[in-house]
């Protein structure tokens, strides 16, 4: 049986969802910025499979290249619903849909964590 580290898994998914919400917030805020291209985080399954290597900060003066947030990539224009004449590829409806997905997954995540801890505290009683 493969052990499942539920608390760790749930917390890394919550972190990924929060990072995705930030990427979506940035897309929506730049819906009218000329030349802005839609960005998104790497899918969670890919994040789980290859926890990508990042440079170790061995000194407090070392800079974190990602600024402490999960890295994002530009989404190709063919995947976006609209591309505007100004070179902007933000489709607000698409972003709203993504934000809805994130919110639902976050609600599910916190509900699972809650019930998991309820189970733990029940057995510990």
């Amino acid at each position: 049986m493969i052990p499942v580290f539920l608390a760790g898994l749930a917390s890394s998914q919550a972190g990924w969802l929060a990072a995705r919400q930030t990427a979506i917030a940035s897309n929506v805020a730049n819906a009218n910025t000329p030349g802005y291209q839609v960005r998104d985080v790497t899918p969670f399954s890919a994040v789980l499979e290859n926890a990508s290597l990042s440079m170790a900060a061995t000194n407090s003066a070392h800079m974190d290249p990602t600024g402490g947030l999960a890295p994002t990539q530009k989404v190709s224009k063919s995947e976006s619903w609209d591309v505007f004449h100004s070179g902007n590829s933000v489709a607000l409806e698409q972003e709203m849909m993504k934000a809805g997905e994130v919110n639902q997954s976050y609600a599910l995540n916190t509900a699972i964590v809650k019930s998991f801890f309820r189970m733990v505290s029940m057995s510990a009683r």
Partner: protein, 143 residues
């Protein structure tokens, strides 16, 4: 300060979007209000349509990339000429220069501004809901 909680970052970004769109709405309202503002003396220039553009910039305070007003400019399109000899701003031929504001364009700009503002507000509300769900984890485990 480079580390910031992603949910707080979402709120900061959505907030910057709200601010940018309200600045845009201010420019649109200025254009609509001055759609018929002609000059005061014969042959003088009327109100010139103002424009606004945005840019995605790094905010040092929050450590995230936010949207800011890049430039407030003026539209160089030609003025609309109308023959009104009795007008105070009429030139020697009786033509009056009217502002280069097209109210229809301004109205569609206003609708777009409104839509973008609402989208930013929605993102802000969702980020707030996510923060509330996280805090609720603490409440749930004690009862």
């Amino acid at each position: 300060m480079s580390m910031i909680d992603p949910i707080k970052a979402s709120m900061a970004i959505a907030g910057s979007g709200l601010e940018a769109q309200s600045a845009r709405l201010r420019v649109v309202s200025e254009n609509i209000a001055n759609a018929e503002s002609t000059g005061l003396v014969g042959g003088s220039d009327p109100y010139r349509r103002r424009t606004i553009t945005f840019d995605n910039v790094m905010s040092r305070a929050e450590g995230v990339k936010v949207v800011r007003v890049k430039d407030l400019g003026v539209d160089q399109a030609p003025f609309r000429l109308e023959y009104e000899p009795g007008h105070q701003a009429a030139d020697e031929k009786g033509n009056v220069k009217h502002p280069n504001v097209n109210v229809l364009v301004e109205m569609s700009d206003m609708r777009e501004t409104n839509r973008s503002y609402e989208a930013n507000l929605q993102i802000f509300k969702q980020a707030r809901a996510m923060a509330a769900m996280t805090i609720d984890l603490l409440k749930g485990s004690s009862s």
